[in-house]
Amino acid sequence: MRKKTSEYRKVPGKRFFFFVRRSLWQGPDHLLWVESNMMEEQYKRFYYKDIQATIMCRNRRRFMWSVIWGIMVMLGALGAWVSNSPGFFYIYSGLFSILLVSNILAGPGCDVYLQTAVHLEKITTLARIGKAVKALDHLRALVERAQGVLDAQEMARNYDTVEVNDRSRKPAAASKIEQAGDTGQAYPLVLPWMMVGLLLVIGMLGLLQRHFKSIWPGAAGLLMLIGLLILAIIILVRGHRSKNIYLQPHWSWLALILAVVRGVTAYIFFFMAIIRHPETAGNTAMAMEQLLELQMMDHAWTNVIGAGSDAAAVLLGLLTGAALLMNGRRQDERIRAST
């Protein structure tokens, strides 16, 4: 707990994803959860006297990111092997190698939850077991100072007598057993599958465009990009802060980032096309045609950017589809466990 600001001390760990930053602070009698984006900060307080339990569950985060960074490194190595100017690919592989090594060194991943009488809050800043264990040990001392130490015999005597059906005292985690049977999903299953389909099709259309040197797959891909952007936003907005979701938010965020990056790239090509052919400035259709022609230009950078983003779209589509299949299975297990 190094950083101290006024009465708060920062708990180690932070999460930063696409302009949203989350941090946890230790106060005199409560924990302060701060989520800040580009425009505002939001606060949640967890008073030590209200915390009933902390739960840390190991997950496969380190493995998943190791696979993703490893694939990127291999793609870079492959590019360096086949390319005549491998310098770019060496830098590309080097950057992703750094990410891969730092992910492995960070240690196993985990999810940490704070349980109170009314809810189960996920603390996303504690994402690695090493930091989480230190933070939870410190938190335990603070909570025991506020509530008193729980004797092991008292715990063993009283634990089985806590009634799950008593709503006023039911742990939030146990109440989720009942909610698992609730079919009120945040969005219909068809939406994430549509997103998977769009990712795969956009990737394939880009590869077709490059292979057959035709502008029509590229034009279709641009239109589908708009659809992907809208779909990813809908899934993120409707699934925001909901527990009944088919897909973890980070898949939708990755799809949104990919769509934005491809959109920005297309925007840059659009300007380049107008600069090269000023007569198309007043004619959008001609400018778009020039944009698509420019995307097919046989140049190292266009090939790398184009092929890279097409491969990324296909890869993301496959991984998202796999996650959707696994999550569907997990939802079934939850419903079976509740009945």
Partner: protein
């Protein structure tokens, strides 16, 4: 009962407060559970407030049949055990608590703060990548930075660095547009 976050299986008492990861009996996910006394805290009947026993006893402002135990620190109204809300070792009534939250006088009730300096800096910086939107966003950034210079930044103290950068960037963009306009007009 404590349930596994993955499969919702109830964890046995042997897996609690061990300080190490133990596998869930159903899904085998490694879990560490720290349980505290608050889990077993029972509802105390006296928290509902005691009835007035004698005529001379002070009565709650909101519940005349209940005995007042504390005054509100803000308005002085007498409160029973049910009405009082303890915050930062002080007792408040609900009206003063709500007023304190709405007027931002009670720091511990603040749930969100608008970061005007971040808005100004983002308005000044990001549109630069696309160039043309800065015609609109630069004056907007300047407005946010100057108008809300003294606005409270958040629970944590902040410097004016973001505001200063926003002003410099926005001013630079506005000057750039003026120079570009003068240049094109003079060419014609």
């Amino acid at each position: 009962m404590i349930a596994c976050p993955n499969c919702r299986a109830i964890q046995p008492v042997e897996h609690l407060n061990t300080g190490r990861l133990s596998p869930c009996p159903v899904c085998r996910a490694p879990l560490r559970v720290d349980l505290f006394r608050g889990f077993f805290r029972r509802f105390d009947q006296t928290e509902l407030g005691e009835d007035v026993q004698a005529q001379a006893q002070a009565r709650c402002f909101n519940h005349p049949g209940k005995k007042a135990v504390v005054p509100c620190i803000a308005c002085g109204r007498l409160l029973c055990a049910l009405c009082r809300v303890e915050l930062e070792d002080q007792n408040y009534c609900m009206s003063c608590l709500q007023a304190g939250r709405d007027k931002r006088k009670l720091k511990n009730l603040q749930q969100q703060r608008t970061l005007f300096d971040s808005i100004a800096l983002n308005l000044a910086f990001w549109p630069m990548l696309a160039v043309f939107p800065t015609l609109l966003t630069a004056p907007a950034a300047l407005y946010f930075a100057v108008r809300h210079w003294r606005a409270p930044a958040g629970i944590f103290p902040r410097t004016h660095l973001k505001n200063i950068f926003a002003v410099l960037l926005a001013a630079g963009q506005i000057i750039g547009w003026i120079v570009a306009a003068v240049f094109f007009l003079s060419r014609q």
